[in-house]
């Protein structure tokens, strides 16, 4: 079990800490993805776990014991870099052997470990090829294999797939899933790609500006985001979030933002939500959950302002005043610019957050 305790890293002259008071527990055999935009402190966190950087404050513990003063090579941590960092002047075999050879492991053991790892990663045919002649996904496999040969108890992956092309990425994702199952490794995985995070990890830890804003089971994090930040980060396109106050217009609840009203589906707001100006809330709905409807049933009406075709579906921009909503529509949708659009959404698909951006414990209920 790996535990990060109030981990903080400040770089001299940076002003803002790169990693700020980060606490996280990773259970044995668990895969956790650190997800966030570039520059949010993910890689710094990884480097601190690996021992390449020393935290300004806080602690990294393995099974309850601090490893801050443990030498890098004794931490039992493997790190795979985004650019693979394979030793290009060596053959694949020498790359795989590196971790054992520098520790003067017996030759027999080195040979066995290479054979085993090469088989695991399908590199047998490439063992005597120079690493400089390999392609992206092969380099990736060498990088992972080189790390696995040293039998780490914790595997750290720093954006391992982002340098690969789409097809290779898909294959490698599958491969990583297989490795994880076969080896039962504990993995901390850094990525800015939510699809990668969601498809590989048991839990997702979402970081923003050096802070951990949410750690949640992968299955839950998209369904019920606990903060507005996460809601606005996950999904493609991410959730539509309006901010304003709730009020009642002829018996119907509406959220008012910048002069435009977004009516809520029939239902009751949780008791702690107060109506009227000065009470600030966030209200969100996923683009997939908004539907086109007739003017009579509309909760929100606006004008079509743009349409992006994505193949399987299209994303429609609907604008009314200062409010802009994105809606995922069927690919056959045919709309002219400026033509009126009427939207509706189910009650269950409305997400309510308080003024600080935290999800309200109770959401919209049946009237």
């Amino acid at each position: 079990m790996i535990e990060l305790v109030k981990l903080t890293k400040e770089y001299p002259g940076a002003g803002v800490p790169a990693v700020d008071d980060l606490s996280l527990r990773v259970e044995d055999g668990e895969t956790i993805a650190l997800l966030g935009p570039s520059g949010c402190g993910k890689s710094s966190t990884l480097n601190m776990i690996a021992g390449l950087e020393r935290p300004t404050s806080g602690d990294v513990r393995v099974d309850g014991r601090s490893i801050l003063d443990v030498a890098i090579e004794k931490r039992g941590v493997g790190l795979v870099f985004q650019d693979y960092a394979v030793f290009s002047s060596m053959t694949v075999r020498r790359n795989l052997a590196f971790g054992l050879e520098v520790r003067h492991a017996p030759k027999e053991r080195v040979r066995e470990a290479i054979a085993k790892t090469a088989k695991l990663l399908g590199l047998e045919a490439k063992l005597d090829v120079k690493a400089s002649r390999l392609g992206g996904s092969e380099l990736q496999r060498v990088a992972i294999g080189r790390t696995l040969v040293a039998e780490p108890s914790l595997l750290l992956l720093d954006e391992p797939l982002s340098n690969l092309e789409a097809e290779a990425r898909l294959a490698m994702r599958q491969e990583l899933r297989r490795l994880r199952q076969e080896l039962g490794l504990t993995i901390v995985y850094v990525t800015h790609d939510q699809v990668e995070a969601l498809s590989l990890a048991d839990r997702v830890a979402i970081m923003h500006c050096g802070r951990l804003i949410e750690t949640e089971k992968t299955s839950v994090v998209v369904e019920r985001p606990q903060t507005v930040l996460v809601a606005q980060f996950l999904g493609a396109p991410p959730m539509n979030v309006l901010s304003g106050f709730f009020h009642e217009i002829s018996g119907r609840l509406a959220l008012r933002q910048g002069g435009a009203d977004f009516f809520l589906p029939p239902g009751r707001l949780p008791a702690e939500v107060k109506l009227g100006g000065g009470r600030h809330y966030f209200c969100g709905a996923r683009p997939e959950d908004l539907h086109l409807t007739s003017p009579e049933k509309a909760l929100f009406s606006g004008a079509a302002a743009g349409l992006e075709r994505r193949g399987g579906d299209s994303v429609l921009d609907v604008v009314s005043g200062a409010v802009e909503l994105k809606v995922v529509v069927a690919p056959s949708t045919n709309l002219d610019l400026g033509s009126p659009v009427h939207l509706t959404v189910d009650r269950e698909q409305i997400h309510l957050f308080d003024s600080s951006g935290r999800r309200l414990p109770n959401q919209l209920t049946a009237a």
């Binding site: 650019d83 002047s89 045919n334």
Partner: protein, 366 residues
């Protein structure tokens, strides 16, 4: 604004001509293609189509290119060539002609004291044979130059690499020392030669210091071994900065992550350097060696000022010997042959030095 156009209408401006003719040149056949504003009057109209329609699959017309008037094209090219003529004449007169004349000269027995080059007897490869087979002094000068190259380049490499590795760390006065270490390289060879000639005098500063610490001074430039050592010391002092500079920039461009990976895998600093960093540095090392080797083969000024090749011929390098042949003995033809042999030799040497790293130098990307 209500007409629903194809979403990709702006990518397919060249519809087939109404009469069905296949447009040959969209720039001339379809006037609308020239003007992007006429292509999609309702450019903002939105239509999401299911399967791409036929119009979507039609290849977009190439961007209109005004057909080039060939004359206007050709004229600048002729003009351009015309302007290079003076340069070509200069290089012909001062480079290529002398080279060819010298090459011809090396096949004759010409000496300026006897006759003109035109009257000189053509002797074929006699000069070359003489040099390689009978002229021990030439062969010795070649071997001596090679030995000088090996010793001074090895020392320069070791010192330069050590300094470069030290300069990867931060320490007080780094900026100042960096400039200081580079200074020797910028001093004129003549000045270096003269300075070291004075330093190595029997009553010079080096002997004075030796006296101060109780050692007997030596006649540096009067003994063949010591004189050679003096040449090596001078050369190393003068040119170690170049190695230092090239290797430092090489070290700085070594990517960080392989080093970090090696550290995590448990490599000691020594292992990291020799197994990971140095292999990546090899092309840079080779280039440094090539640059310096070419210089050492040509070494003249420093040796001339320090020892004039003496005592005897114990410090005589190839270029010094050729100089003496040509300008002391006026054996210009023989000297030219020696010079061409040296040129061929250094070409082969450079080729051999670059062979092991040619792949690494040439490959692009990783």
């Amino acid at each position: 604004m209500t007409s629903a156009l194809q979403p990709d209408a702006d990518l397919t401006p060249a519809d087939p001509a109404p009469d069905g003719r296949k447009p040959q040149n969209p720039a001339t056949e379809d006037p609308t293609a020239e003007d992007p504003t006429t292509e999609d009057p309702a450019g903002a109209s939105l239509t999401a189509q299911g399967p791409a329609s036929e119009a979507d699959l039609r290849p977009a017309a190439p961007p209109s290119v005004a057909s080039r008037p060939p004359k206007a094209q050709r004229k600048p090219r002729v003009q351009g060539r015309f302007f290079t003529v003076p340069g070509q004449i200069v290089s012909l007169v001062v480079l290529i002609m002398p080279l060819l004349v010298a090459l011809y000269m090396s096949f004759t027995d010409w000496s300026p004291t006897r006759s003109s080059l035109r009257d000189a007897a053509f002797t074929g490869l006699d000069n070359y044979k003489e040099l390689l087979v009978y002229d021990d002094r030439f062969v010795e000068a070649v071997l001596r130059t090679l030995f000088l190259a090996v010793t001074s380049l090895s020392l320069e490499f070791v010192l330069g690499l050590t300094l470069a590795v030290l300069f990867l760390r931060t320490f007080r006065g780094k900026r100042f020392l960096f400039s200081a270490f580079l200074t020797p390289m910028m001093v004129l060879p003549v000045v270096v030669g003269y300075t070291f000639w004075m330093l190595f005098q029997a009553n010079g500063p080096i002997n004075q210091i030796l006296h101060l610490i109780g050692l007997a001074g030596v006649e540096w430039l009067k003994s063949s071994n010591l004189a050679f050592a003096a040449v090596v010391v001078t050369e190393v002092w003068h040119w170690t900065p170049l190695f230092f500079l090239i290797l430092l920039s090489g070290l700085n461009s070594v990517p960080e992550n392989p080093v970090r990976a090696a550290v995590i895998l448990g490599a000691s600093p020594r292992q990291v350097f020799w197994k990971v960093v140095f292999p990546m540095l090899r092309p840079v090392v080779a280039v440094a060696f090539v640059v310096r080797a070419m210089e050492v083969v040509k070494i003249f000024d420093e040796v001339f000022l320090l020892t004039r090749g003496g005592p005897g011929s114990s410090t005589e390098t190839v270029s010094l010997y050729i100089y003496k042949l040509a300008f002391n003995d006026f054996q210009l033809a023989y000297g030219a042959a020696a010079a061409f042999l040296t040129l061929t030799g250094s070409l082969i040497m450079v080729h051999l030095l670059l062979t092991p790293v040619r792949d690494q130098l040439m490959e692009n990307g990783r």
